[in-house]
Amino acid sequence: MYAFDIERPTTIADAVAALGAEDAQALGGGQTLIPTLKQRLAMPSKLVSLTAIPELKGVCVADDGALCIGGGTTHATVAAQAAAHYPALAALAGGIGDPAVRNRGTIGGSLANNDPAACYPAAALASGATIVTNARQMAADDYFQGLFTTALDEGEIITEVRFPVPDRAAYMKFQQPASRFALTGVFVAKYADGVRVAVTGASEGGVFRWTEAEAALSADFSADAVAGLSVSSNGMMGDVHGTPDYRAHLVKVMTKRAVAAA
């Protein structure tokens, strides 16, 4: 990696201030950024570590019943502490990477990076989560804007993610054989006012909602309800691990399985 300065502030305010420097870069758990730096593919002047900020960490339940997760909370903590309130989300967190990744990587880091094959974006979008930053609150529907692209401004930090807890939910991930990211992952969440279905890993546009399935499942929450639907391969990713057709097919299979498991 190239040389850089590093700061480790202990408050959100100090972190925001530090990120005001030119070419400064926030560092969460580092599970994407550190390998990128080691490959010399990024050259930040300064890294601002978010790991020493207590107010970014933790899992709690808000008065309205939403599950609130601090942006700096690790996957392992979510897997352990969200299990009672939102088991599908806890299971998703427990299935990311391996124990080393889960003990370093954070929910805020994952959502800020918005890797098109990451797991958390599917949960956030399917849950209609609210992304809370140091500056504002955003609905998940507004937050995700394409591959590695979000509504975050330069230097903006995800401080919390609020998940309305569904009646039933499940995440089904079909692993890419090498990275074990989602080749296609589908999160299905059933709320009193309807069903939301979010798909990761499949689309060239990043995480997206499969609205036809949502409508069908809102009327009849069963795997059979999506049996008659088809997913277009237009805009699906194609690579050595799967063609667009294959990914489109997997969207349906994983959706059916998620509904069955919910």
């Binding site: 010399r40 079909f174 054989p177 090498a178 990275s179 080749l183 050595v240 691990h241 097919h249």
Partner: protein
């Protein structure tokens, strides 16, 4: 009762104490005073003309000590091919020079054209990025068929991309063609043996050192065969006299073939150390490993099997394109030919075999031997086409193999591909397989899978391989430019413990445990008092290293011969001590006795006497107790096995899971059953990796798109089932003193066809008319095959 010591005991691996507690000492662990660091500048294009290299900015960078380019090595030699192959028309193969650093052209992504030496590794890397090279990108060729069709040429000076066009056995060609023309049934299969990245856990690393006071060079390097590396550097590349070059291969974290070969980085660090008068070190990044370690396999084959309607084999005929990459790595020409074509009769009495192999230069990393080296390619072709033929003819896959097996009373058997198999019992292996794999319960298991929405398949494989890669007379006839004997020195110390210096190199095989079991057994002493010394050309006799499952069969035999010499000499000393005639002295269980008396001396007493030779019969016996033997076998060894794999296929996603795996191998006599089982386990893991996961993909521009673990799928524990392995079917090798055959590669040879045969069986059981899927049999490929997508 299993033995608890000596030959046949499952002694725990003594080397694991240091490996598992972080105390192994690898090349990168060796820190030398005053060391500098090398970084290589590597081509980012697959094919390009080097118009200029401007190092002026880099030279001014902090810590930079020296910069080398290809220009600095134009007057030294190239890294040679170790095996001469002649084409069918008698023309020798094309051997373009492989320089230390690319000069004139770069020929694959990762091809190094400059190197920077600096005070720190980071400084070297910074300066490497500051080198401004003007490289004119040229059209690249990565597809073998296109490469054979004509320009662009990887090497302009040979004006072709064909290295050779080899026929085996050319005199059998017409008869084979005729047999196929007249056969009642011919099954044809076109298949790809996928290119693999070796992925040793320890990346390649080399440190060069030079002593201006003595003129001595030392190279610490990740090598499977330090003497061969020394020979290549001395005789072909840099011209350093062999006696002035010491090569040390310390602990090496896996090789799988990729560390047999000499690489340019080794020459560079030596040349740089000489120039600077300081040690110069380099350790590959994982990215460099992906781009520049010699890859494995990469064959495209058409195979035909001609047979009677009852399944009796009449002929095998293959046409193969074998990718050698951009340069000839040291054994790249032997692997697709004599390690492949000679095995194309399999375990079978088939009377006609003809093999044609075209070796092809492409703008990709060099390809060379990788665990199994040619034999997996042969086995895969044969055993896949047999399976297809059985299905076409409605024959049981085991029955068709049994019908054609060489039978025990036919050995020694000269196969139609020209090798003389000394011994084997393939039916016994199949009997054992049928017993252990519980074929009787398969129908029930299939039913259970189907109830869970899965398709279940059973795949069989029967392999033979040629191991103990050695017989110098034979390999010399076949084109080898080196001898392939091995050597050992047994040094009995005065206090009776023993150092054994061996030419074999252990990089995971357990020699430090297994070889002492042999010596301990022969001398009737505790193997714990025997230590193995390997990997340092200044300490060991000139041996040829470890690859081709040869260490025990070849070097182990040298250990036996040297130990026999020690016993013979010790007997003379004992006779003197016992005041008896040598002819009357008997040696058993560590004691020399005089027949018919109670007179006895222990081996330890004799050892002490050898070094304190008071009152010694110097006219008939020299002091000391140390003997060396060089062993060159009469033939290859021929391990064989029967493998069975059961898979489940998820018909919705195409995902294959290996549910059961049974491997029955005949390795001849077994020294340490636990180590042998471990070798088979590892081999099967690699074979399943090849069959289901590992996919080395170059795009049309020659970029390696699977150049990291994000896209290159290595097998992990949860990809693999618990194995049933058995090596109780033993036909001892007839021509080496231990009766051993070699076990290091069997798993990687035997498993891929078993896995793919099982997948096809599963799909057929579900009504899918799928006859073949190329490896890796990934979920997307299975799904596409099922859906004609």
């Amino acid at each position: 009762m299993p033995k608890d010591t000596g030959i046949g005991a499952s002694t725990k691996r003594r080397e694991d104490v240091r490996f598992l507690t972080g105390r192994g000492k690898y090349t990168d662990d060796i820190q030398l005073t005053g060391q500098a660091h090398a970084a290589f500048v590597r081509s980012q294009v697959a094919h390009g003309e080097i118009l200029s290299i401007d190092t002026s900015d880099a030279e001014k960078m902090p810590g930079v000590l020296a910069i080398f380019t290809g220009e600095d090595f134009v007057d030294v030699g190239g890294n040679p091919a170790g095996w001469l192959i002649n084409s069918r028309d008698g023309e020798p193969m094309k051997e373009p020079k492989r320089p230390v650093l690319a000069h004139g052209k770069v020929r694959h992504v990762g091809d190094a054209y400059a190197a920077v030496i600096a005070e720190t590794a980071e400084q070297a890397r910074d300066a490497a990025e500051a080198i401004a090279a003007d490289i004119k990108e040229l059209p690249a060729v990565t597809n073998m068929a296109q490469a054979l069709a004509g320009a662009p040429f990887v090497h302009d000076e040979i004006a072709t991309n064909q290295c050779f066009d080899w026929g085996w056995i050319e005199d059998n060609r017409a008869a084979t063609d005729e047999a196929i023309r007249n056969a009642p049934h011919v099954t044809t299969l076109e298949l790809v043996n996928n290119r693999l990245v070796p992925n040793a856990m320890e990346p390649r690393a080399s440190t060069g050192d030079y002593d201006p006071g003595t003129g001595d060079y030392t190279l610490y390097t990740t090598s499977q065969n330090p003497h061969l590396t020394r020979l290549l550097i001395s005789a072909f590349v840099l011209g350093i006299p062999e006696n002035k070059l010491r090569v040390i291969a310390p602990d090496v974290g896996g090789g799988f073939g990729s560390k047999i070969y000499h690489y340019g980085e080794e020459a560079l660090v030596l040349a740089a150390a000489k120039k600077l008068g300081r040690p110069v070190r380099w350790t590959a990044t994982r990215s460099e490993s992906f781009l520049t370690d010699a890859h494995g396999r990469d064959h495209v084959t058409k195979i035909e099997l001609a047979c009677e309607k009852d399944g009796t084999f009449i002929a095998f005929r293959t046409e193969t394109m074998a990718n050698v990459g951009a340069y000839l790595s040291n054994f790249s020409t032997a692997t697709p030919t004599f390690l492949h074509g000679t095995l194309m009769a399999g375990n079978y009495t088939v009377p006609n075999v003809y093999v044609n192999v075209k070796a092809v230069f492409t703008n990709t990393a060099p390809v060379d031997a990788y665990r199994g080296a040619g034999r997996p390619e042969a086995t895969y072709s044969i055993e896949r086409v047999i399976d297809k033929a059985a299905r076409e003819l409605g024959l049981d896959p085991i029955a068709i193999r049994r019908k054609n097996f060489v039978k025990p009373d036919q050995f020694p058997f000269t196969s139609a591909a020209g090798l003389e198999y000394d011994i084997g019992n393939y039916d016994a292996l199949m009997d054992k397989l049928e017993e252990l794999a519980d074929f009787g319960g398969f129908a029930e298991r299939r039913k259970a899978s189907e109830a869970a929405g899965k398709l279940r398949g059973l795949g069989i494989n029967s392999y033979i391989e040629a191991c103990g890669i050695a017989p110098s007379n034979l390999v010399g006839i076949l084109g080898s430019r080196v001898g392939l004997y091995d050597a050992a020195t047994v040094r009995v110390n005065a206090t009776g413990n023993i150092s054994v210096m061996v030419g074999a190199h252990s990089h995971g095989q357990g020699h430090e445990t297994a070889f002492p079991q042999v010596v301990g057994e022969m001398l009737g002493i505790d193997p714990a008092s025997v230590d193995i010394v390997h990997g340092d050309t200044s300490k060991i006799p000139f041996g040829m290293g470890s690859y081709g499952s040869r260490s025990l069969a070849v070097c182990g035999s040298a250990v036996v011969r040297a130990t026999e010499k020690v016993i013979a000499k010790a007997k003379k000393i004992a006779a003197h001590m016992l005041e008896a005639s040598e002819a009357d002295v008997e040696f058993a269980e560590g004691n020399f006795t005089v027949a018919g008396t109670d007179k006895s001396v222990s081996f330890g007493e004799v050892a002490l006497k050898a070094y304190i030779p008071h009152n010694f019969p110097l006219d008939s016996v020299e002091p000391g107790l140390e003997e060396t033997a060089f062993y060159d076998p009469a033939n290859f060894t021929y391990p064989a096995g029967g493998y069975a794999c059961e898979v489940e296929v998820d018909p919705e996603t195409g995902k294959v899971t290996v549910e059961r795996f049974t491997a029955c191998d005949d390795f001849g006599n077994v020294i340490n059953p636990m180590i042998v089982s471990g070798q088979v386990h590892g081999g099967i893991g690699q074979g399943i990796g090849q069959a289901l996961l590992e996919n080395t993909v170059y795009d049309e521009n020659g970029q390696l798109t699977s150049a990291s673990y994000m896209d290159y799928a290595m097998p992990r524990a949860d990809d693999l089932p618990f194995y049933t392995v058995d090596h109780s079917c033993v036909t001892p090798c007839t021509h080496n003193p231990l009766g051993v055959k070699g076990c290091g590669e069997a798993g990687a040879i035997g498993s891929p066809p078993a896995v793919v045969n099982a997948v096809i069986d599963a799909l057929q059981s579900g009504g899918h008319n799928v006859t073949h899927i190329d490896m890796p049999v990934s979920p997307s490929r299975v799904w596409a095959a099922m859906n004609n997508a």
